[in-house]
């Protein structure tokens, strides 16, 4: 294997082919740059997907097997970390856009200036974003149209100025969406169609989702669900300039004696090692794998890991814990909710998103109603486990349950972090990511208040029983991994600059959600893609002009 020749050097090597990596690949290759993509997971196609609950939710067909790719977790430095499947996220071509529910709301204008609004919050490393909503807006619009989305412009009163509406109409209303909209109205609140990464009308050769109900956590065998697997990756491949190699695991980012990145060292699926040289390296492995790779890339120049002169790599980690209230409805009083119909979630509201001092905490979250699972995994706390009581409960309540959830807008805390576990190794013999995390007291306050509020909405909807499901700790149950190479203007306190270029290494970039300086209370994929597009434009217009052609 040592006699094999390494692949030809290219302009850019991109580690990872999820939301960030695929967007960068599309923009750079369409601009004429030669790009190699290295994705550690398989390149599964839509025809590998179908509505099989056991395969996707229980046997984890697209989720990492914790026997091969474990992670460890502890609450604080005094504890020993234990192996958990923390923040499982599909490591496949398409990344998190394969299993996702496709929620694509925009950040609000205030999300970009939380430090200015709230000042110093004790125990938190709260900062403003170095960019504004207006700088990102054109890219939000571009992604909404290129990627394929549905929604209703103007229906969200909390949204900032938008330059264009959505390319396709809102997705069809589900019974759960009906119940939510009616209850919210009863309480004097706004709700509106969830902006979705789906097309609801024929759009650029794609057909709408079949509404087979297998949506959240299921890849789509059709073309209705927007994923980078069926959009930006084919766009990039079609340029003839994007060479995407799946099942290729990057072990190290290489640097030269001048301190610039020279490429990466990776292992292919047969165990062969290769070096891919490039003029620039973009890391898009997600908010856990990206800091892990930077920290594994130790060298003489960078003894503490790459791009880590600030000591901030891996720190300020936030994870958007998903909590909710479950509502159980009496079948004698209510029409069935048929939670398994449609596409998991149908409406949402931003009415609790912005800070309201009367609540006793700062920040807030998007809220949205959804089902509590397909038949195998349908459950609620208090469900009888076996015997006739269990069968009766399944029979009486399966079609009469829903939940209303939140995405915790958690505060950044410097000691909440990802680093390398000192003892646990993955199946390739490399140190795994260790998560150290204790929620800020504001996180608990916000979560408790909103879960209770969601219960009140269910009560207004007529639920006979409301069961709150609060967090005891962070588990990473949204697959949202944020903040671990935070973006900022100051090299002493941040890892990447406003163009997501590392302060320390001028040709090394991070385009996944690791850059988020604060968590936001919304799903991050749209913002990841919009920002990747913005920063890729910068590479084309400025950085690439300085690259030598040798």
């Amino acid at each position: 294997m040592k006699t094999k020749r390494n692949p030809e050097p290219v302009d850019v090597v991109i580690v990872g082919a999820g939301a960030g990596g695929a967007t960068a690949a599309k923009v750079l290759s369409e601009a004429g740059l030669r790009v190699v993509g290295l994705e550690r997971g398989p390149w599964l196609k839509p025809e590998h997907a179908s509505g099989d609950e056991l395969k996707y939710l229980n046997r984890n067909f697209i989720w990492q097997d914790p026997k091969l790719k474990p992670r460890t977790y502890r609450q604080n430095d005094a504890e020993d970390a234990v192996i958990t499947n923390f923040s499982a996220t599909p490591q496949v071509v398409g990344g998190g856009t394969t299993h996702w529910g496709g929620m694509v709301p925009r950040m609000t204008a205030n999300d970009f200036r939380l430090r200015s609004l709230h000042g110093d919050v004790p125990g938190s490393s709260l900062v403003d974003w170095p960019i504004s909503y207006d700088e990102l807006e054109p890219y939000y619009t571009r992604v909404e149209w290129e990627f394929g989305t549905s929604g209703l412009a103007g229906a969200n009163p909390w949204e900032g100025r938008r330059s264009r509406g959505y390319p396709t109409k809102p997705s069809p209303l589900s019974q759960i969406g009906r119940t939510f909209a009616t209850a919210m109205d009863k309480l004097g609140h706004n709700s509106f169609p969830m902006p979705q990464g789906m097309v609801t009308e024929p759009y650029r050769g794609r057909q709408p989702f079949s509404e087979n109900g297998f949506w959240q956590q299921y890849p789509d065998p059709g073309t209705g669900k927007s994923s980078v697997l069926i959009s930006f990756i084919p766009d990039a491949v079609n340029t003839g300039l994007y060479d995407l190699r799946s099942d290729c695991y990057v072990h190290e980012i290489l640097v030269g004696s001048d301190g610039r990145a020279t490429g990466v060292r990776y292992e292919d699926e047969d165990g062969n090692e290769w070096v891919q040289k490039a003029k620039a390296v973009i890391v898009c492995g997600g908010g856990i794998e990206t800091p892990r790779l930077l920290l594994m890339s130790k060298s003489e120049h960078f003894p503490d890991g790459l791009a880590n002169s600030s000591g901030q790599v891996g720190k300020n980690a936030t994870f958007h814990q998903y909590s909710f209230s479950v509502g159980l409805f009496d079948r004698d009083l209510h029409d069935p909710l048929y939670g398994w119909s449609g596409h998991y979630m149908s409406g949402c509201s931003f009415d609790f998103y912005e800070t309201d001092a009367t609540r006793g905490h700062i920040l807030g979250s998007l809220i949205f109603p959804s089902n509590i699972g397909h038949p195998v995994n349908w459950s609620f706390p208090g469900r009888p486990g076996w015997g006739s009581a269990a069968k009766d409960a399944d029979r009486e309540l399966f079609n009469h349950t829903m939940k209303i959830g939140i995405l915790l807008h958690d505060l950044p805390v410097e000691s909440n972090r990802v680093d390398l576990d000192p003892t646990v190794k993955d199946a390739w013999g490399l140190p795994v990511a260790r998560i150290t995390h204790t929620p800020h007291s504001n996180d608990f306050a916000q979560e408790k208040w909103q879960v209770k509020k969601n219960g009140e909405i269910l009560e207004a909807a007529g639920a006979s029983k409301i069961v709150p499901v609060n967090m005891e700790r962070i588990t990473g149950n949204t697959s949202h991994e944020l903040g671990t190479t935070r973006m900022g203007d100051n090299p002493a306190t941040s890892v990447v600059d406003r163009w997501c270029r590392t302060h320390d290494v001028p040709n090394l970039y991070v385009f996944d959600a690791s850059f988020f300086p604060t968590a936001t209370g919304i799903n991050p994929a749209l913002t990841i893609m919009a920002n990747a597009w913005r920063c890729a434009d910068r590479i084309i217009q400025v950085d690439a002009r300085g690259w030598t052609t040798d």
């Binding site: 997971g41 599964l44 025809e47 590998h48 997907a49 179908s50 509505g51 099989d52 609950e53 056991l54 395969k55 996707y56 939710l57 229980n58 046997r59 067909f61 097997d65 914790p66 091969l68 499947n85 499982a88 229906a155 809102p170 069809p172 209303l173 589900s174 019974q175 969406g177 009906r178 909209a181 919210m184 079949s210 509404e211 087979n212 065998p221 159980l328 449609g342 409406g347 038949p375 995994n377 459950s379 706390p381 208090g382 009888p384 486990g385 076996w386 015997g387 006739s388 009581a389 269990a390 069968k391 409960a393 309540l397 399966f398 079609n399 939940k403 006979s464 990473g476 149950n477 949204t478």
Partner: protein
């Protein structure tokens, strides 16, 4: 060969009717236990759904881990993924083998017979002793939340069964065999779905080609603001 290249082997969990991994006696004992976990009443239960066949195929080896997307044939796993699943199945086999022995031991110590030979109530007492908990009481809307064994829904994460002991694993597997797609060997004639009113797909293929849809259970004609739309107002009850 990566996961995307796994080939489909033309086998089915229904190629034979009876056990391919369990012994006949083990098969009968598991079938009896699943029939207490999801009993037969005015609707079919685990026995009629052939849940025991689901469990037998789950334990049989890595050939029955992942069906092909369209449900015709099974994926031949390779490499590290296959090795991890082989290890997982070994662990489950030991749990089941020891668990079956324990069922009979408890049955014998308390009722002087094998688990299989006891009546329904006696079998329930054995399951209570095995689980260390009383048999779940009927659900009511005013029951306290910690009364049952079922936990919160998994949210948005895959479910990990690797750390379960025998009884919770048996309960979960029974549920999987009753409610999972019939391609796995249980849920015969989709009777598990019929019991709870899930109008599920007739085949996995039908979820791929667009022929299966749940649109008729939705309100696609409703337009925002939904709460004022006639299609939504129709649902108002006096």
């Amino acid at each position: 060969m990566g996961q995307a290249e796994w080939v489909t082997v033309p086998i089915s969990t229904r190629d034979v009717e009876g056990p391919i991994y369990l012994s006949r006696a083990e098969w009968d004992t598991i079938e009896a236990a699943t029939a207490r976990i999801i009993p037969t009443d005015h609707h079919p239960g685990a026995r009629e759904a052939r849940v025991v066949r689901f469990i037998d195929r789950m334990l049989a080896g890595t050939q029955f881990v992942f069906p092909a997307a369209d449900g015709i044939g099974w994926l031949q796993m390779t490499g590290r993924e296959e090795a991890a699943w082989a290890e997982r199945i070994q662990t489950r086999r030991a749990l089941y083998r020891n668990g079956i022995r324990e069922l009979d031991q408890i049955a014998n110590a308390n009722f002087g017979g094998r688990f299989l030979d006891l009546d329904d109530d006696e079998q329930d007492r054995v399951l209570e002793k095995l689980s260390g908990q009383p048999k779940p009481e009927p659900f009511t809307f005013d029951a306290p939340e910690d009364d049952g064994r079922g936990g919160a829904p998994a949210g948005n994460q895959p479910v990990n069964e690797d750390f379960l002991s025998f009884f919770p694993l048996l309960v979960l597997n029974t549920r999987q065999g009753f409610y999972g797609d019939p391609v796995y060997g249980g849920n015969d004639n989709r009777i598990g779905w019929a019991v709870i009113g899930f109008d599920g797909p007739p085949t996995l293929r039908s979820t791929m080609d667009g022929s299966y849809t749940t649109l008729k259970y939705m309100i696609p004609e409703a337009q925002w603001p939904y709460e004022r739309h006639p299609a939504v107002l129709r649902y108002r009850r006096p």
